[in-house]
């Protein structure tokens, strides 16, 4: 059981929860995720850790309501409990000083990007953050990423905030004007696919974080498998981060629809 300490609505369907999980708060690193079960009888679903407070013993999760289970999680109020939270799972992000890092996130993908932005900045990189959303209301965590970014570029599909255009437009703008050493992309599979296509053209190393279907999250079921560089890999224990240029995103998108 894990008590909800606080709750904030980023938008109608996107909720930030701060959850009591002292052991996870202490051991998590950027890139890690947890598996959460809202209630008894609930599904086990993976959620990336957006932030953690070791002293308070809490972790921060950002959840978008998309199905039965995320709805149940988003409906929980402070004082109530998640039936289960387990983690941190997956491999932590490899953080080093490489020069200039463009971190681009779409939708709730910005949440797992936040700890990576922080860690990249702390490692001494120049960090340019590109946040993308369909519309102004869906831009999240802008204030949280700002202190750790040398520049924040906001892109919206409808132009209601920042510039009008897709995440790839924002990333390309940076690539064209300065030398970029690494791109980190987290968001919907289709977004990561096009970011990878763009950066491949410029030959810039690019890392993505995959949010596939999982059951146990510890390597046992294989539901999360993806093809990377022609080989089957398990996102839960070998990922969630992979070389974006080698991921078969089309296969991944097809597998994400397994239960739709």
């Amino acid at each position: 059981m894990a008590k909800i300490v606080s709750k904030e609505h980023f938008s109608e369907h996107v909720v930030k929860l701060v959850v009591e999980a002292p052991m996870i708060a202490r051991s998590r690193r950027a890139g890690h995720f947890v598996i959460v079960r809202a209630t008894e009888g609930g599904e086990r679903i993976p959620l990336t850790i957006a932030d953690a407070d070791i002293e308070a013993g809490t972790v921060t999760l950002v959840i978008q309501e998309v199905g039965v289970s995320t709805k149940k999680i988003c409906a929980l109020e402070p004082g109530q409990e998640l039936a289960d939270i387990v983690g941190p799972l997956g491999q932590a992000t490899h953080i080093e000083k490489v020069g200039t890092v463009v971190c681009c996130g779409g939708g709730v993908g910005v949440a797992p990007l936040l700890p990576i932005i922080k860690a990249m900045k702390q490692a001494g990189n120049r960090v340019v953050t590109v946040l993308a959303a369909r519309t102004a209301d869906l831009v999240i965590l802008e204030d949280e990423v700002a202190p750790w970014s040398d520049e924040v570029i906001i892109m919206t599909d409808d132009g209601s905030r920042g510039q009008k255009g897709l995440v790839t437009n924002g990333v390309e703008e940076v690539i064209k004007r300065e030398k970029v050493d690494l791109v980190v992309t987290i968001g919907p599979a289709v977004m990561m696919k096009f970011v990878a296509k763009l950066t491949e053209g410029y030959n810039i190393p690019t890392m993505c974080s995959l949010n596939t279907i999982m059951v146990d999250g510890t390597g046992m079921c294989g539901a999360c498998r993806v093809t990377v560089d022609g080989k089957t890999r398990f996102v839960c224990i070998e990922g969630p981060e992979f070389d974006a240029h080698k991921v078969d995103f089309d296969e991944m998108m097809s597998r994400l629809k397994s239960y739709n």
């Binding site: 599904e43 387990v86 983690g87 146990d216 079921c221 539901a223 397994s258």
Partner: protein, 497 residues
């Protein structure tokens, strides 16, 4: 247990006890041998599909059990005990059944097996204890040891709850990683020896493969929970949702005051064959299929977890897990078939499982091997391409190896494929502990006698050491490790004095 002199394993029912002598003399061996072997009562095949979680084997009646127990000749050198990986005092518990002392029978069982109700159901007795029964020498069917074990364990669970115990305040603390058969067996033995045992489980349920893997129609969850409650009563503590190696490290455990650690983290990783189309939607591991249904309750009213049921399901492989998956698929309403590359004779699954699968209408495509899976326009599996095989020369396993019949390839329509071709050890612990000796296959290397790893006071057993074996072998490992760790702890403490 062989070579074990610890107090836990002293005989509770010595053969020279007066009551046993009387039983031996009460009926001549010839008369006992004339009694036919008992038949297990089974749920009617038609009722099984309508009651997907109902246990197929229904257990013996008290009369059946006493009669079967009477068949046992109470040999002076019982072969059955040597055939048991945990050396259960088999005649000791069987003779207690015969004289009607079921509580005593269960006590004998429990003194050598932490999970008798589980073993009585899922052990391959026909390859172990029963294969060594003296009855084989006169071409008779062996004593039904497995049925009797189950009977005694169930009867005792129904009547008397296990006596409660709590470890002493200054008891040495021991951590167990994983709550499957190896971990539970180790935990039970260590608690009985007076240690303060805490079991860490990564999932939200205790029981490991007994819960997520083996279906309820073969091993009801209530039975597993009963065994776990018995361990709780012995003072064993269980913590769920903790992944040792991730949530906490081995060093953390030491800091928390755990002086000994046993790793029974199992064979987590499902294997695939690496053939085209294996990542299509509708192709999944047996672990995923069974976990969704057994652990997550997919298909039941109060569960949010979805599962693909399929109309025509193919299960690839011929082991017990393949049988569990294919029989589950029948219960989920699908036409279901097993695809196995050798013949029925080489199939590693228990004879009983194959028999039950056939009764339930499972089709067996033996001497076939998948080459490729084909997708429909939505990327979902629609068919499999099978290569017909024939048997060639025996391979290193002693089984005749399958050889492709040139040109004999066929396409079979399917909408769900469950791959059950084995598992690899879970890499979480091997990868997270520095200095731990790990084999090329990813298993933890241990001393075969003591189960101690390259790190002192870190023991391991079950599939994380064996790479994919049986419940009973895992339990045997737990038992051996408990004896050895206890001895090592005592030696260490007396040296420190």
């Amino acid at each position: 247990m062989e070579n074990c002199n610890c107090n836990t394993h002293k005989s509770l029912a010595p053969r020279d006890a007066e009551w046993r002598d009387e039983l031996r003399r009460a009926l001549p061996a010839k008369d006992r041998m004339a009694i036919p072997r008992v038949k297990m009562r089974e749920l009617d095949p038609a009722d099984r599909l309508a009651n997907p979680t109902a246990e197929v084997n229904m257990g013996l009646t008290a009369e059946q059990a006493v009669q079967e127990a009477t068949r046992c000749l109470d040999c002076p050198n019982p072969g059955c005990v040597s055939g048991c990986p945990v050396s259960i005092d088999i005649p000791g518990f069987i003779k207690n059944i015969q004289r009607g002392e079921l509580g005593e029978a269960a006590r004998v069982l429990r003194s050598t097996s932490a999970l008798p109700a589980v073993c009585g159901r899922v052990c391959p007795q026909e390859k172990q204890c029963e294969s060594k029964c003296i009855y084989h020498k006169s071409k008779r069917e062996p004593v039904a040891i497995g049925y009797l074990e189950r009977f005694a364990a169930d009867a005792a669970a129904k009547s008397a709850p296990a006596a409660a115990a709590t470890p002493a305040k200054d008891a040495t603390r021991i951590a167990v990683i994983g709550s499957g058969p190896a971990g539970l067996s180790f935990a039970g033995d260590m608690a009985a020896k007076g240690y303060a045992v805490t079991v860490f489980e990564a999932l939200h349920e205790i029981g490991g493969v007994l819960k997520y893997g083996i279906p309820e129609f073969r091993l009801p969850n209530s039975i597993v929970d009963g065994e776990i409650d018995a361990l709780r009563a012995l003072g064993v503590e269980f913590l769920r949702d903790v992944v040792v190696g991730k949530t906490i490290s081995l060093d953390d455990l030491r800091e928390m005051g755990f002086e000994g650690v046993f790793v029974g983290s199992g064979a987590g990783l499902p294997r695939f064959m690496g053939i085209p189309g294996e990542n299509l939607v509708g192709v999944m591991s047996c672990n995923e299929y069974l976990t969704r249904i057994n652990l997550m309750g997919a298909g039941r009213e109060n569960s949010d977890t979805p599962v693909m049921t399929g109309k025509r399901v193919a299960v690839i492989g011929g082991g017990n897990t393949a049988m569990d998956a294919v029989r589950t698929a029948r219960r989920m309403g699908a036409e279901a078939m097993v695809v196995y590359r050798r013949s029925l004779e080489e199939m590693p699954a228990r004879v009983e499982e194959v028999h039950h699968a056939r009764q339930e209408g499972v089709e067996f495509m033996t001497l076939h091997n998948p080459l490729e899976y084909l997708a429909d326009e939505k990327g979902r599996v629609r068919a499999m391409i099978l290569q017909r095989m024939e048997l060639g020369e025996p391979d290193e396993s002693g089984r005749r190896s399958p050889v492709a019949v040139e040109g004999a390839v066929e396409e079979i329509p399917v909408d769900l494929v469950i791959v059950s071709v084995g598992v690899s050890p879970n890499p979480l612990i091997p990868n997270s502990v520095e200095g731990l000796d790990v084999s090329r296959r990813g298993t933890i290397v241990v001393n075969d006698d003591t189960m101690e790893s390259s790190i002192p006071m870190l023991y391991a057993g079950g599939d994380i050491v064996r790479g994919g074996a049986t419940v009973i072998l895992a339990m045997g490992d737990g038992r051996r490790a408990a004896c050895a760790m206890d001895e090592a702890m005592r030696a260490r403490k007396s040296n420190n004095k």
